[in-house]
């Protein structure tokens, strides 16, 4: 079989149906061998280790563990921050309430003093009116 005939068969007939002579020829002719490999490239691809082989499982699992630890630390920090902010807000509230309650205590004394002066005034007035009445 000539190279031309072999290459014609390779191009026209599916790989599974190649005659035995073609296979024989391919064993002894590098040109036709290359031709067959290149012509049948999608099928050849599956037989090739086209990509570097990797196993990143240990590195990835370590990274995931670190990520989890980082997340845990973040949770702890956010919890601690919440507690601190909570205390601060609590302190502010307490201060505010204390401040308000001290104001609140002052108000009745003013009111009392007003009431007291009113009472004196009215009493005086009453006295005066009574006096006038008597007169």
């Amino acid at each position: 079989m000539t190279c031309q005939e072999v290459q014609h068969i390779i191009q026209t007939i599916p790989h599974e149906q190649w005659p035995q002579e073609v296979h024989e020829h391919l064993k002894s002719c590098i040109e036709c061998s290359l031709f067959s490999q290149l012509s049948d490239f999608p099928r050849e691809l599956s037989h090739l280790d086209l990509f570097p082989s990797i196993d990143l499982t240990p590195q990835l699992m370590t990274k995931i563990h670190r990520h989890q630890q980082k997340q845990f630390r973040m949770h702890v920090i956010s919890l601690a921050a919440s507690i601190v902010i909570g205390f601060f807000i609590g302190f502010l509230l307490q201060y505010h309430l204390q401040h308000n309650s001290s104001n609140y205590q002052e108000l009745p004394s003013i009111e009392i003093s007003y009431q007291f002066s009113d009472m004196i005034y009215s009493n005086l007035y009453d006295i005066n009116t009574n006096n006038n009445d008597h007169e």
């Binding site: 691809l45 499982t57 990835l60 699992m61 990274k63």
Partner: protein
Amino acid sequence: MPFKTKHKEIIIEALIKSHQQKVFNLAYSIVRHEEEARDIVQDVFLKAFEHLDEFRGDAEITTWLYRITYNHSINMLKKITKADFARLMSEPDEQSDEEPTPWIIPIAKRNEEADFKVTQAELKSILWEALDKLPITQRTAFLLHHYDGFSYQEIAQIMNKSMPSVESLIFRARQELKRLLQNFYEQYKENSKIMSNHLSKN
């Protein structure tokens, strides 16, 4: 219902073991750099771990894994100069007339060893040389289909394209590869003749 931490670890480990090579292949076929591709694999699985609770089925998460790998790899490429990125992503308007780089296989040595089959390493180099001449979208779709065995529908989901567009990408990639490898073969034949003549003269 969210997974327990221990369950999440078991699931992610199983996912890594079963999908890391294909995720790497996809990243590598886009960025064409081993270290970058490894980094992408790590980023993708870390993201998958963070979002594990959002998935309800294996099919959903695997498609998501490849889609995020594709997008992440494209984004990595964008870090290269914009001009280079545009050139890599663009589909060629006309067939390039550029001849493939001559690949001289040492015939004399081969004859001595009585090895008439192109070695895996040689064939791999030839194919990568041709694959590198394809636009990224064509190369990715072609490799996803012919190497990793994804269906057109899966590739459409991964690359966020329509099915006809994926079919067209793979068809054009096959045609272009055929042309490039044919050119390579012609080049090789020429070189072989020159070398044979040279050897016979000597």
